[in-house]
């Protein structure tokens, strides 16, 4: 019988929400626990073992010197390294701080900034090779399941290049942007959520990051027609994925 694949889960600068969603997989499919060996998972285990690991799931961004050293070390001991969730993929919401001088961020929060070690926050691929990106804040557990199954079969992970709009149309929702003139990020945002927000009468905020070939400028123009001011539009793009090449131009205006 082949040995069980070794899985490691690491947390960097983030909220643990992706690990929580990952744990929900075990509620749905308790058999998973018997099929893999959880070698490292601090939030769930006291005895954690050193690599090598078959799959390392990384939650969180890199935001300080210690983390930079650690991620390079983990990379060396991981066969497949996965950026799990927006923070690891592109910095997510906390990346909004990158538009503010670091010293200003520190001064606003801490009286004594001399003990604070922190730098501009980035996703993992800024520093190491990443084998698969799973976007979402958090990524739906079924995307994580798909990733595990594909990785264990040594197959390429399906990246969902299409927009939220595709999934929204399949659910036969009324279009919030064209019909109701609400500023929905669906046309530039990667699918995978099954159009969760628009299906509940809420505009997409872009929490799965940009789709392939996202046309941010065209959507920004459409937002003007919805009545948004320039700084409102800037905030829409400077949110979950403001650092990405697709959104950074609209995110840095003003």
């Amino acid at each position: 019988m082949p040995t069980k694949p070794k899985i490691a889960v690491f947390k960097f600068t983030g909220c643990a929400g992706c690990q929580m969603e990952f744990l929900r997989l075990a509620d749905e499919y308790p058999d998973i626990l018997g099929k893999v060996e959880l070698s490292y998972f601090k939030m769930a285990k006291r005895d954690n073992v050193a690599g090598p690991y078959d799959i390392s799931l990384i939650e969180g961004s890199i935001s300080c010197p210690r983390e930079l050293e650690e991620i390079k070390e983990i990379r060396k001991h991981s066969n497949v390294l996965v950026a799990l969730g927006d923070c690891a993929v592109n910095g997510c919401l906390p990346s909004i701080k990158n538009w503010i001088p670091q010293s200003e961020n520190e001064r606003r929060v801490y009286e004594d900034t001399s003990v604070v070690q922190s730098f501009a926050l980035h996703g993992l691929s800024e520093y190491v090779k990443v084998d698969a990106h799973v976007s979402g804040c958090p990524p739906d557990k079924n995307l994580m399941l798909g990733l595990l199954v594909k990785s264990l079969q040594q197959l390429r992970v399906y990246h969902r290049p299409h927009a939220v709009c595709v999934e929204c149309k399949l659910r036969e929702n009324v279009c919030l942007l064209t019909a109701l003139k609400q500023p929905c990020m669906g046309p530039v945002t990667k699918g995978g959520c099954n159009a969760l927000c628009p299906s509940g009468a809420r505009v997409c905020e872009g929490c799965y990051g940009p789709m392939s070939d996202a046309n941010a400028q065209s959507l920004a123009n459409a937002f003007k027609e919805c009545g948004l001011a320039d700084d409102d539009i800037m905030r829409k793009f400077r949110k979950y994925a403001g650092l990405t090449s697709e959104f950074s131009k609209e995110a840095s205006k003003i």
Binding site: K11, C15, A16, M43, R108, E111, D112, P138, R202
Partner: protein, 420 residues
């Protein structure tokens, strides 16, 4: 002179986030540091300049274990700032949302994070084979809490349907009826959970201190109430900063809280159950009696675990009664706006949570102030650890280290949250 002993845990397991324990002690002196080395994300800085309507969506990301509490607290602080009063239905739906988070979070903390220590295991994983019924019960409860959150909030982790002045989507009667049936089915499971956790062998030691929770004579306070303590403290949420101090330490990114003019204090399930015992559901009170829990219990911090199990019983009961009375009407989300300053105190699963915002004429945040439960607790956990090593200082190092970790886990700390 007696030799100096040290306890070092460089990365505490089975808690959320990155923290370390560093203790040096001998017969007479004790130096205790709980070092939260989790990197700061500077939420209170980058919230400045953001729109009032997205504050709850942003602060949700402070914590993946208690996003619901951050959303509700931010919404209430913002609504207080801009002068909005929400509908009774929104209040009920938010309470149900908060209860869903109590159920999933408490089940996770009790069974997955706390229990393994008491059963001599490093995690819940070996228990899958050894105690399958117990693990199945744990998963059933956690799943039920998560799915109640999915139905009302769109998703349990970083919900999407809660917004300023209400909900963009209302669950269907059928969805709620189905989950009500499942809640009724777990009433026996939560009772057995309380019995199981009341029967564990907790380290016996004395480490008393002030306990703080919000309180409301009409209901078991979760989303709103007056600040109360076991030492007679009483304040409105807008006066929070007049009674609670916060101070940075050189060794941790989490600031430490104290009651002004007094000392460290405890927040969480135990203070809530002690202070608001009368408002618990009749069933939860009778379970408390059954397992021999008589309030107030203020000396052993491990009672946090038993109180958490009692709250699990209450959360299921109150969810059922809320579902039975919900009208489920679509309500208009349109609202008035005025600039201003707002404050909110709530009870996250792990304890007292504070948000405050100044919103300007353009509807943008000018000032943000956030104090999560674990930031309230961290200084008190250090005091408890100091008392713990005094009581058990003669134990072998590995046993004492495990006891220190168990004490930290009894608080179910959320470290990302506490640093934010």
């Amino acid at each position: 002179m007696s030799p100096i002993k040290t306890i070092n845990v460089d990365y505490i397991a089975r808690v959320e986030g990155q923290g370390a324990i560093d203790i040096r002690f001998d017969k007479t002196t004790r130096e205790v540091k709980l070092k939260m080395f989790e990197p700061p994300r500077f939420f209170e800085s980058f919230l400045i300049g953001r729109k009032y309507s997205e504050v709850h969506e942003i602060t949700s990301r402070i914590c993946g274990i208690c996003p619901v509490a951050h959303q509700i607290t931010a919404l209430r602080a913002v609504e207080n700032a801009i002068g909005l009063k929400i509908s009774p239905q929104t209040e009920d739906l938010r309470k149900l949302m908060a209860l869903s988070a109590y159920i999933s979070s408490h089940a996770l903390s009790l069974y997955f994070l706390t229990a393994p220590d008491f059963l001599g295991k490093e995690s819940v994983i070996p228990l899958v084979a050894e105690a399958p019924q117990v693990v199945a019960r744990a998963m059933k409860l956690k799943k039920l809490g998560n799915e109640l959150g999915d139905i009302i909030g769109g998703r349990a982790i970083h919900p999407v349907y809660m917004v300023v002045n209400g909900f963009t989507n209302i669950p269907s009667r059928k969805q709620l009826d189905d989950i009500r049936t499942r809640l009724l089915e777990v009433k026996q499971d939560v009772r057995e959970t309380a019995q199981l956790f009341a029967g564990l062998k907790y380290p016996q030691f004395n480490s008393p201190g002030e306990q703080i929770a919000i309180s409301d004579s009409q209901q078991y306070a979760i989303n709103k109430g007056m600040l109360k303590s076991t030492e007679g403290l009483s304040a409105e949420e807008k006066d929070y900063r007049k009674v609670i101090n916060e101070k940075q330490t050189a060794y941790s990114y989490t600031k430490e809280s104290t009651v002004k003019g007094r000392a460290s204090f405890m927040v969480g399930p135990l203070p809530r159950v002690n202070i608001n015992f009368e408002q618990l559901s009749a069933n939860a009170k009778s379970v408390a009696k059954e397992i021999g829990f008589k309030p107030p219990r203020v000396t052993n911090p491990f009672d946090q675990v038993i109180a958490r199990a009692i709250e699990l019983v209450h959360s299921v009961d109150e969810s059922i009664s809320l579902i039975e009375k919900l009208p489920l009407r679509y309500e208009d989300l349109g609202h008035s706006f005025r600039p201003g300053e707002g404050f909110a105190l709530t009870e996250a699963p792990r304890g007292l949570l504070y948000h405050s915002y100044q919103i300007n004429k353009q509807g943008l945040v000018e000032r943000a102030d956030i104090v999560p439960p674990t930031a309230h607790n961290v200084h008190h956990i250090e005091k408890n650890l100091s008392d713990l090593v005094q009581t058990f200082g003669d134990l072998p190092a590995d046993e004492l280290t495990l006891k220190c970790e168990m004490l930290v886990r009894a608080y179910d700390p959320c470290i990302s949250c506490s640093v934010h």
